[in-house]
């Protein structure tokens, strides 16, 4: 066995045996990939079992690397796994399927085993410093602040707003809505001087060196501009800044990270924002995986929805929502768009059962696949920040 694989197996063996020996597969039914494929090789359990086989010299990463594409990094399996949920805090040892999947992908890349879509995506990202979210149209540094045209936002300052690639180039009305709302509340913030992709997607697809390089650039840029606080509207960035960056920089990481949804709920609570324009829609809320499951943030989005007059809100049990996913995360749509589409259809089907006309999300990355699936059922997919902006009477 090559050395890196040996070291990998050593590092992950305990976690793998912990899962292998219990083998209860509670994780299986909440996994969005399993729900639509029933392929056991793509189950969280298999992802752990492979490590056991790797340690025994039965297989190499090249044999299984393609299986590890089939994960959106939603974290449902971790939360449903009794090893996390019922004993994880007690032993300080929880199931880390998401980290494991990332680590296997990283190991594959380090061994020269690439997935074609991911390789191309990361190559383009490296060249342009941003993800190629507009297919053929190049996105780059020169256009990264275009979304803010006419908003008159300063550059730098103590607090800045970080806008992910999808929102900066494709879903521009989301950051515009956020900026208008914050201005309305009198909350001061600026933009980054030179904003690169957060590096999170590269890390998720196994391109670790690139991810670290991008992170270092952003941190240096913040420091140079005197930034102390970074506002984040995208749940994926939120994960990157609160899980990847701390891992890279350790004690030197002195930046405060604030999730915009939480900030907005606070501003409403304090009376600094009062939604007053009625929005006549019947909605349900899609908990983005990276907020609900991976961070435990589910109250604030609901607080915001309940503050909007005119809305009829059909909520579902947020524990049940642990098994919902748009399929848009973890690089899945880059490598397997058809699987993402199936997962989205599955999600929208659940919304349709509630008789709603609108599915509200709070994650720019979920909106493309969900909207696509929503069209087939005449369900609008709307972003929470935009909905709030509408009710506050500030057009994007």
């Amino acid at each position: 066995m090559p050395d890196p694989e040996k070291r990998f197996a050593e590092e992950w063996r305990n976690a793998a045996y912990n899962c292998f020996s219990s083998g209860h597969k509670f994780c299986r039914e909440v996994c969005p990939v399993m729900q639509v494929t029933r392929n056991e090789s793509w189950s969280p359990t298999a992802f752990h079992a492979n490590v056991v086989a790797m340690e025994k010299g039965e297989l190499e990463v090249a044999d299984v690397a393609a299986d590890y594409v089939n994960c959106t990094g939603c974290g449902a399996c971790e939360l449903r796994c009794p090893n996390s949920l019922f004993t994880g805090d007690f032993y300080r040892f929880r199931t880390r399927t998401v980290d494991l999947v990332k680590a296997v992908r990283g190991l594959a890349v380090s061994q020269g085993v690439h997935q074609p879509g991911w390789q191309r995506w990361n190559l383009l990202t490296d060249e342009r410093r941003h993800e190629p979210v507009l297919n053929g149209t190049p996105v780059d540094q020169a256009r990264v602040r275009d979304w803010a045209d006419g908003l008159d936002l300063p550059i730098g300052g103590e607090t800045i707003l970080f806008v992910d690639c999808e929102a900066a180039f494709y879903r521009t009305s989301v950051p515009r809505s956020v900026a208008r709302i914050l201005n309305l509340a009198g909350y001061k913030f600026g933009l980054m001087n030179e904003q690169w992709c957060c590096g999170g997607p590269a890390a998720e697809m196994g391109y670790e060196e690139q991810a670290r390089r991008f992170a270092q650039h952003n941190l240096d840029d913040w420091r140079a501009a005197g930034v102390r606080r970074v506002l984040v509207l995208d749940p994926h960035d939120y994960i990157t800044f609160t899980e990847d960056y701390p891992k890279y920089f350790g004690d030197a990481y002195d930046i405060e990270i604030v999730l915009v949804v939480e900030l907005l709920a606070e501003l409403i609570r304090e009376g600094r924002l009062t939604p007053h324009v009625p929005v006549e829609r019947t909605v349900t809320y899609h908990d983005p995986c990276r907020l609900n499951k991976r961070k435990g943030v589910w109250r604030e989005p609901r607080e915001i929805l309940r503050a909007i007059p005119g809305l009829t809100f059909h909520d579902v049990d947020r524990v049940t929502q642990w098994s919902y996913c748009s399929g848009g995360g973890g690089g899945l749509p880059v490598e397997k768009p058809e699987l993402t589409a199936k997962i989205s259809e599955h999600r929208v089907e659940k919304a349709a059962e509630l008789g709603v006309d609108t599915l509200v999300s709070a994650c720019p990355w979920s909106e493309r696949p969900l909207s696509e699936a929503g069209r087939a059922r005449s369900i609008d997919v709307v972003d929470l920040h935009e909905l709030l902006a509408e009710s506050l009477g500030v057009a994007p």
Partner: protein
Amino acid sequence: MKYRYQEEMSPPPPQRVTDVAITRFEHVFEVEPGLMTDHVTQQTFPNWDTLRLVRSRADHLAWMHRHFADKVISGEELLHDLDE
């Protein structure tokens, strides 16, 4: 939730509960870290992670009770049913 590395990585000081358990957050118990150094070493947990698990567990149990248990049956009643 505002994330600050220093705050998340500084857990409240442990209080000993028994020889094998400590507590850092109210009603949250942990294995004495000294006992987890040989075979399975503890992971680095930021504070939010511990609290997320605890809260999710409470939510999950409440959900279970809402869905699977709508009345409480005593052991005596069960035995009585069997006898009939």
